[in-house]
Symmetry: C2
């Protein structure tokens, strides 16, 4: 059934790509085969930190069947400049050095060379024949260690970009330091009824997408480049290739394939430039694919962190927070400490705060965005402290949050006021939920709650809408469909044009075939590409009226479009199908285009409730029940919204209970496989209940808010709070794995 006032919005039709995916016909990167195609493989550093003294590729090149070998020298030197490609700032020297190491290998698995050969096996054999002379250096693997003056420095040229745009004068691993502050923290602490101060750590964990990264490149004799890849944003890949390879944008065609998950981890280039260079050298299309070990060692993960939070309460009011967030950037700067700092206090209307954030490099893979980047970490810290303050106030933790909740007009730590938000509505819905009303009983059982926030994104989107002569419609868009955006966009177009959902066929086109679209990320696609769809749909509506005016021989301004029919004052009318059928003789193809740099983003709040049972003997934490309440704006396709929420919660549960990179002291990763890196499976999880709070975003004609990211924010803290409730012990380090539970409970 459609949402109130809508015909299509709010229904749950079949996803356009669903059958193709379940029948195995959908084309992923691994399915690409091209005439004359060669296979590329990457040689990776066995050292976490080492100077590359020399690379001798001659023996590899001499191996029969080897077509090309490349090293860092083959990528043009990039300047140490940060450029904003419209999707966040990128330092191209860093990006280049991550793609193929130049002077130093900075983490276990850092790419140092690559080979193209006529078979994968020969390529593998050739890798063994590349002689890399390393000078091993001490590695630093802990964020607080990395900040110490005596720590090994990854890059002698690096200076801290400090608060107020000052720049440090000594080599350091601290890439930057940011601060958000307001009010008078010291005074608030002095007047407080209760002050809690705690330190927290979170582990390094990976996006864990099911499809390993893969790219195929064909460098053509005319200097153009075609790349088939699995990515969250074909245009972003194109931009990065353009900068790294110094090619104009219009010489590069990126063809996006189906994506087996990304979660932020498939935004930046890894294999693409390498495959392109191997193709250029070999004159053949070159296909490259990572195995799972490569994925763990050299892509993703999100930042491990160390955090200190001090917070105060006076009566029922949260009065002050002082926090320091130390985020691991991995081998190159770029941790999400900024968003982590900006999100943590978003649920709370608080006057006095100071938050310091540090972006710190160390000898781990360059981190990538991961679903609401930074926010789960900082929520893990603040939401536990808030829990303790609520207990101190003697209030139900949701009540305490309601008392202190932000609402429309509340100021964020950046000073910007919130628009229409559903924070309080989520808290109230959580209180009213069957789950929260049910008792939690039994030994070693406990209940926890936590709030979460994500900004959601806007950015650029474009679509083209083509009306076919039989009254069906093609929607050409450029947003990678990760979580059902083909359907959510087709539904918005069907709504706008008053045609059945089945009449709209959405397609994700390549970078040559559709105008610019920023990445699918930031929970922006259904919102921002939806705005573009609406704009295009309205243009089609105007064109339908203009064409009908010609057919009916009446002035266009006497006509209006409603329910799929153009009607005139005199009872004359033409249906969408009739106007579509006549288009060839009324002026040619009917089409509409939408192009937006989206404004009116609606932020997302969530409140989660979780019941756990802790086995004190094995340390296993069982999730008994989980309810996720979220302001989803208008749920265009409620099943996908629920799916997004359930997926985010599942990932949050993994981070809370099991997921971590296990490095030895020399910086070798020891659990780079799904056997040893423990992600939750269906057997580990209950059915995750969802409560959709629909507070329409006034910045979108159908009220759309992004829904994909905020669900991962509360679980880490909610589960820690539940475990504290169950055990009386507060776990401040992630993951709360069986080993840790057993150790800390001391049973």
């Amino acid at each position: 059934m459609a949402a109130a006032g809508y015909k299509v919005v709010g229904t749950r039709p079949v996803r356009p790509d669903g059958i193709e995916k379940v029948t195995g016909k959908a084309q992923y990167g691994a399915d690409i085969r091209l005439p004359g195609m060669a296979y590329g493989r990457v040689l990776r550093s066995p050292h976490a930190h080492a100077r590359i003294v020399s690379i001798d590729t001659r023996a590899a090149e001499a191996l029969p069947g080897v077509l090309a070998v490349v090293t860092g020298k083959d990528i043009p030197l990039a300047d140490d400049v940060i450029r904003n490609l419209g999707e966040g700032a990128v330092n191209f020297r860093d990006l280049r050095d991550n793609v193929l190491a130049s002077e130093k290998a900075l983490y276990d698995g850092h790419a140092v060379a690559a080979v193209a050969a006529i078979s994968q096996h020969i390529a593998g054999e050739a890798l063994e024949r590349i002689a890399v002379k390393y000078e091993p250096l001490p590695a630093v693997l802990d964020v607080r260690e990395a900040m110490r003056p005596e720590a090994p420095v990854l890059d002698d040229r690096r200076r801290t970009k400090d608060v107020g745009n000052t720049v440090g004068d000594t080599p350091t691993n601290v890439a930057s330091h940011i601060r958000f502050q307001g009010g008078d923290v010291a005074a608030a602490f002095a007047e407080a009824d209760q002050v809690i101060e705690r330190e927290f750590t979170t582990s390094t964990f990976h996006q864990g997408y099911i499809e390993p990264n893969t790219s195929t490149a064909s460098w053509n004799a005319d200097g153009t480049l075609t790349v088939w890849t699995s990515t969250q944003g074909a245009f972003g890949i194109r931009s990065q290739l353009s900068e790294l390879l110094r090619m104009p944008l219009n010489r590069i065609r990126v063809i996006p394939l189906e994506i087996g998950g990304g979660f932020g981890g498939k935004i930046n280039v890894y294999l693409e430039p390498v495959a392109a260079l191997l193709s250029k050298k070999s004159g053949r299309p070159v296909k490259m694919a990572m195995d799972r070990t490569d994925v763990f060692r050299a892509t993703g993960p999100t930042s491990g962190s160390s955090m200190r939070v001090k917070a105060a309460r006076k009566g029922n009011r949260l009065t002050a927070v002082e926090a320091s967030l130390y985020f691991e950037a991995g081998a190159f700067p770029g941790s999400p400490v900024g968003p982590g700092a900006m999100c943590m206090l978003a649920p709370y209307d608080i006057e006095n705060f100071v938050i310091d954030g540090y972006d710190v490099v160390l000898n781990k893979p360059r981190t990538s965005p991961y679903r609401a980047p930074g926010s789960p970490q900082s929520a893990f810290a603040i939401e536990q402290v808030v829990d303790e303050l609520a207990r101190g106030a003697g209030l139900d933790p949701l009540e305490f949050r309601l008392v202190n909740a932000t609402h429309e007009g509340s100021r964020q730590v950046t000073g910007v006021a919130f628009g229409s938000i559903g924070n309080e509505e989520c808290l109230r819905a959580a209180v009213a939920s069957p789950h929260y009303k049910a008792p939690i009983e039994g030994p070693n059982r406990g209940r926890g709650v936590a709030s979460g926030f994500w900004f959601n994104g806007g950015m650029q989107s474009s679509v083209i809408v083509s009306v076919n002569p039989d009254g069906t419609v093609n929607l050409t868009e450029g947003s990678t469909d990760i979580g059902g955006s083909r359907a959510s966009l087709a539904m918005q177009l069907a709504e706008c044009l008053s045609v059945p959902y089945e009449a709209v066929h959405p397609i994700v086109a390549d970078t040559d075939s559709v105008p610019h679209n920023d990445i699918t990320g930031g929970s922006r696609t259904t919102f921002a590409s939806g705005l573009a769809v609406y704009e295009a749909g309205m243009e089609v509506q105007r064109e339908l009226i203009a064409r009908a005016a010609k057919q009916l021989e009446v002035p266009a301004d006497t006509l209006s479009y409603e329910d799929g029919v153009v009607r005139g004052a005199d009872g004359k009318q033409l249906t969408f199908k009739e106007i579509a059928a006549a288009q060839a003789r009324t002026g040619g193809p009917i089409l509409g285009r939408g192009a937006v740099s989206a404004r009116g983003v609606g932020a997302a709040f969530a409140t989660h409730v979780v019941d756990v049972e802790v086995d004190p003997d094995t340390g296993k934490v069982q999730i008994l029940r989980y309810t996720a309440v979220q302001d989803v704006g208008t749920a265009i396709h409620p099943s996908y919204v629920e799916g997004q929420i359930q997926g985010g919660v599942a990932q949050g549960i993994g981070a809370a209970l099991n997921e971590e990179y296990y490095y030895d002291e020399t910086g070798h990763l020891h659990n780079a496989s799904f056997l040893d890196y423990r992600m939750p499976t269906a057997l580990d999880l209950p059915m995750i209940e969802t409560v959709l709070v629909e507070k329409p975003n006034p910045g979108h004609p159908y009220g759309v808010r992004g829904v994909g990211e905020v669900p991962i924010v509360p679980p880490l803290a909610a589960i820690a709070n539940a475990i504290a409730d169950a055990t009386g012990h507060r776990f401040t380090a992630l993951p709360i794995s069986p080993r840790r539970v057993v150790e800390e409970l001391g049973n």
Copy 2:
């Protein structure tokens, strides 16, 4: 050097697809490989005319490796209705019966069944196991024979659609009879100084494209269909598949590949529906490819014809023409007798005429359009008669044509007046050409001239223009690039936007990725898609001004765009590149769209001059010198215009001297290979000289006229006139092959 007043138009840049094609990387139909792909082959009738009594496919289906077998029964029954898909009328019952025969096999090579198997060899073996029981029927192979009441009738349901929309009452092979008339022919003949009456015949000849037809289809589990094919119009293939398979247009995606020639022969479906049905039955993608024998037997060709022309002169004026054109349609109606009739008198301002045209079915392959369909045949007739009248008047044949030439305002046989045309200019340029001024001397040598006409086409085109942030531009279009249209469209966009040609990257997108485009045919693409490009470019110009207004903070109406710069009255300015770079923050992606149902088509005239030498012993005719003069409107890319003219002349020479289908009396084709079907090679031809008369078409902003088709019109007649000049004998039957020359000259 650019044409006067232009920067890009008139230059000769490298074609965007050139290097890809010569390095073998361009993707043609034969290059497609898909996971799980099966191979399809077609069983063809060995009889020219036979009732299909039964088809037993069981033994084929039982063969290991065979995945599916289809026959005519697998295509939904189509109604005997003619539908106009925007690109000419199509009778879907006929189209269906041609794709896979239903009740009868109507020509040698008619498809009767098809097989998909895991290999081509197994598919071939399976074909031999299909038992078709035929009841052979007498075949009719000559157009005049086919019209006789006692001739075998191909379809008992067929009745003649006669002049005035009357319908005959007896079964017949004459599908239709049309008439154009004006003035008083009888009176004019009575008053004439000279009357010539002759009969002519032209052979059945093939488009001769180098790439055999090939199609791959993937019928997906969700009921959508993807087709990779080599076609002149992906949207036309989509429309035909939609009608034949009864699927909505938005469920079908046709991906056009590079095309190895079409010339009108790759407009209609042959393998596409068969591959689709085999894919549906087998659950696999199915690839099908014809060999050259299949191509000759079952695709193309153009109409063989029989024509009677009677024409009169009074003084230097052509006063009357009476013509009957009998055109072979092949097995199903649809010969180009209509355009043949409409073109033949276009060069002549003549008052009294009656032209009867007959569309006649017989037991040959269903004909397809072939470059200026019908016009070469009728020109072969009329231009020889005009030649004789000119000689009778004692006038130079070009002078005689000039005296009688049509010009702007002259009426066509349809009654429609010509717009701006370059007929007289071509005749004058031919008179002034170095070739025509040079003497023709020596035994057995002669010179001939002829005029030719083609309407040129308009129809629908759409394009999308995307401005990249680095100031390059992507042009997404949907017109198959046969003769350089990527370049000719990119050049028009570069001209419109005042950016370098290299800044524009044109791409031919698939039917899901670009709005509707009619076929590349009718010499319409550079004109009509060019109009769409201009419309899109102007929209981009307006958007550039709007964006610059935001950046400069001045009203948009104070700004103008010229030479790649937006300038204001106060000296403020921004370059195209600067505006492009800022687009993300000035409103999002800058794009323009053009969609036209093109008006303002400019017709094409040509005058050709040819010198030949006839070897009376061997019968060989050598082309000594050839000059083609043509009104090309503005030559966007003169090299391609010259190439189109040279290609058309080469094909015309082939038709004049060698090309013919050789059938025995039972209707078996005996020369279905390039060994036995003689096309001209480079060794047979001199360098063909071209004279570009540029009379801009006022219906296009850059004056574009279609140029691709008219060059094939004059050669047949010009060569016949030259041979008459050389030998004193007038050849009225094509081809004027060595055998025919020896026989008719009686040496």
